[in-house]
Amino acid sequence: MIPISYFLILSAVLFALGMVAFFVKKDLITMFMAIEIMLNAANLAFITLAKSASSLNGQVIVFFVITVAAAEASVGLAIILLIFKQKKSVKTEDISLMKG
């Protein structure tokens, strides 16, 4: 069988890649996608450890994560749409209301 460390390393690499994607992209939508990648990387780690621990709890948690991700995506995308309506842009540089 494949050692679990392979999966875990893969998960770490995916997480880092997601992070890179988050910083490199500058439109909100793709950044949002990058977040999903990171979520998935975490999911992978959960599933792996569930298997090595022979416990289904990990899988259930992943199930919940996916559900929450779906909810989050729907609201998040709605917000992005709203921002676009107001600013006519989805670039992060244009959204700096919090500037001090």
């Binding site: 992070m19 988050f22 992060t92 959204i95 209301l97 919090m98 500037k99 001090g100």
Partner: protein
């Protein structure tokens, strides 16, 4: 009946209260009846109480009426209690009698004034305060009267407050008095700390019983005396009194001549055991008195303002009273106080009558030859002048002589010499005043001359009564050479202190010197101002510097202004602008602005961009995980 004396001060107080609240709505006639009536009632009660006092055996002195405990906390206890003993009785009689006469006089003098009710409110209030001062049985209550008369003096000097000079003079009087009062207050505190009670009987007992050391007694005596120099206008705090002449003339007569300014003398006499105990303090009192007596008299020589001459004369005469107290002759000091009250208020009221006749003119250079226009004012004025000059058989002679004799007898020859010098000057300046005003050429402006008229009877009758007293008041205190028994005043007061005795011969000699001195002064004045009227101006041009210094009152006012008033104000401004606003407030505002500045710097980190925040967050995570790993 003997315990109704406590009502004496409160009758005028009640009247003042009524006038203060309803005064503006009452008719003038009523106001004058009430105000004068209240003081007359006080005088009446004083006489009744005085008779009662005479019938009381002496071991029961003083009669004390304790109304209620006033202030009490811990060791500090002051009662609202009044006492009546010979000293208080004399003062109460003088104050209420002179006060009454001046009230009556004021009815005429102030008849046209808009502030009629206000004037009588203040005057009644003053009478109350003064009576409280002289009848208080403890020093704290005495301080109430002490401050109260100061307040009334302030109010009455500044009575015509629209006049800038009057308002300033009032303030000056109050402030200078306050300086003295601060010292007085400290004296009170020392008394409470070392004696434990402010009651006069307790103080006498403590001093007599040796409960206080010489040093403490001296300290207390000097502090209280500083208070007295303020109230009684002695060196160095006399500067307010000449300016106080801005007030209405009856006020000058009552407050700034007859009664209030003598409060210091009364205080020293009241605490005679203290001053008798402390030789150093007594010496200082005598010396200050003597110096003031001469010093003030020199300034009186050249003044042209009729009231200012009298003001300096008052300062000088009070100096004599302090000589008396300082050399241990408290009775003599009090005696002079008593005679002075009559003749000085007479002089002031007569001067007021002159002013009244001349439509308010004060400058003696614009008077002269008034003798024939003012048939009543002139003789009364003359009586007062003779009394103050020390001509025999008039009251001033007896009292001044008693003081000088005591000083000589005590061996204080220097002080005696100063007193004699002062006496020459006194006789000179007062007759200079008489000659310039009533004799010689008529120098009035023509339009003033047309209106010259004698004052109404309501003003002249008090003058006549006072003239009578100025002449006769001295006969209750005849010199010892005529027999000890004859000095009723002395017998009655029985103040402590050691009155030294000298041989009859020397005493007669001293009396003769006094008489000679008085006539010398009068003669000099006669020569200068009647026989050779050109001499004074010649002298002035010959010694311009001396004249200028005298005329400008030794520049003391200017010096005080520069040294104390202006330097304080300038210094405060400097502190305010450079310390309060810059340093303290600067520190406060600096804290605020530095916070603001660092906030601005920090706000650069808040770019508002999600990525920057995320990057910082990531950095944190990396560092945190790194920390966990290693």
């Amino acid at each position: 009946m003997s315990d109704i004396f406590w009502l004496i001060p409160f009758v005028p107080a009640l009247s003042a209260l009524i006038l203060a609240v309803f005064g503006t709505k009452l008719p003038k006639k009523y106001i004058s009846y009430q105000a004068c009536g209240a003081v007359l009632i006080s005088f009446g009660i004083s006489i009744i109480s005085f008779i009662g006092l005479l019938q009381t055996p002496q071991q029961n002195y003083p009669l004390v009426k304790n109304l209620f405990t006033w202030i009490h906390a811990g060791l500090f206890k002051a009662n609202l209690s009044l006492q009546f003993d010979p000293l208080s009785a004399v003062m109460a009689l003088v104050v209420s009698l002179v006060g009454f006469l001046i009230h009556v006089y004021s009815v005429g003098y102030m008849a046209e004034d808009k502030g009629y009710s206000r004037y009588f409110t203040y005057l009644n209030l003053f009478t109350f305060s003064m009576l409280l001062l002289v009848m208080a049985s403890n020093i704290v209550l005495m301080f109430v009267g002490w401050e109260g008369v100061g307040l009334c003096s302030y109010l009455l000097i500044g009575f015509w407050f629209e006049k800038h000079s009057a308002a300033t003079a009032g303030k000056k009087a109050f402030l200078v008095n306050r300086i003295g009062d601060a010292a007085f207050l400290l004296g009170i505190l020392f008394i409470f700390i070392h004696i434990g009670s402010g009651e006069f009987t307790a103080i006498h007992q403590a001093v007599g019983g040796g409960a206080v050391t010489q040093g403490v007694a001296t300290l207390i005596a000097i502090l209280l005396f500083i208070g007295a120099t303020g109230k009684s206008a002695q060196i160095p705090l006399y500067v307010w009194l000449p300016d106080a002449m801005e007030g209405p003339t009856p006020v000058s007569a009552l407050i700034h001549a007859a009664t209030m300014v003598t409060a210091g003398v009364y205080m020293v006499s009241r605490l005679n055991s203290l001053y008798a105990f402390s030789a150093a303090a007594a010496e200082i009192v005598a010396l200050v008195g003597a110096l003031t007596a001469v010093y003030a008299a020199t300034m009186a020589l050249v003044q042209n303002d009729i009231k200012r001459v009298l003001a300096y004369s008052t300062i000088s005469q009070i100096g004599y009273m302090f000589i008396g107290c300082g050399v241990g002759a408290y009775t003599a000091g009090m005696f002079h106080l008593y005679t002075h009250a009559f003749f000085k208020s007479l002089l002031f009221l007569a001067a007021g009558s002159v002013m009244h006749a001349l439509s308010g003119e004060l400058d003696m250079k614009k008077m002269g030859g008034l003798k024939k226009y003012l048939p009543l004012t002139y003789p009364t004025f003359l009586v007062g002048a003779i009394a103050i000059a020390g001509v025999p058989f008039f009251s001033g002679f007896f009292s001044k002589d008693a003081i000088l004799t005591s000083a000589f007898a005590k061996g204080e020859y220097f002080i005696w010499a100063l007193g004699i010098a002062g006496a020459v000057l006194t006789a000179f300046y007062i007759f200079r005043l008489i000659f310039l005003t009533f004799h010689g050429k008529e120098r009035m402006k023509p339009q003033v001359k047309e209106h010259i008229h004698e004052s109404p009877p309501v003003m002249t009758i008090p003058l006549i009564i006072l003239a009578f007293f100025s002449f006769g008041a001295g006969y209750i205190g005849l010199p010892a050479v005529l027999g000890q028994k004859l000095n009723v005043f002395n017998q009655f007061l029985k103040l402590g202190g050691h009155e030294a005795h000298i041989s009859m011969g020397i005493e007669w000699l001293l009396i003769l010197i006094s008489i000679a001195v008085a006539f010398t002064g009068i003669f000099l004045a006669y020569m200068f101002y009647i026989l050779k009227p050109y001499v004074p101006s010649m002298m002035a041009s010959k010694y311009p510097r001396l004249y200028k210094v005298l005329y400008n009152k030794y520049y003391v006012d200017e010096f005080y202004n520069a040294a104390f008033v202006n330097s304080t104000i300038k210094g405060s401004e400097l502190i305010y602008n450079h310390f309060d606003l810059k340093v303290i407030d600067g520190a406060v505002n600096g804290t605020a602005s530095s916070t603001n500045f660092s906030g601005k710097i920090l706000s650069y980190f808040q770019s508002g961009l999600i990525k920057d925040y995320a990057l910082v967050f990531l950095l944190g995570v990396v560092i945190f995980i790194g920390y966990l790993l290693f």
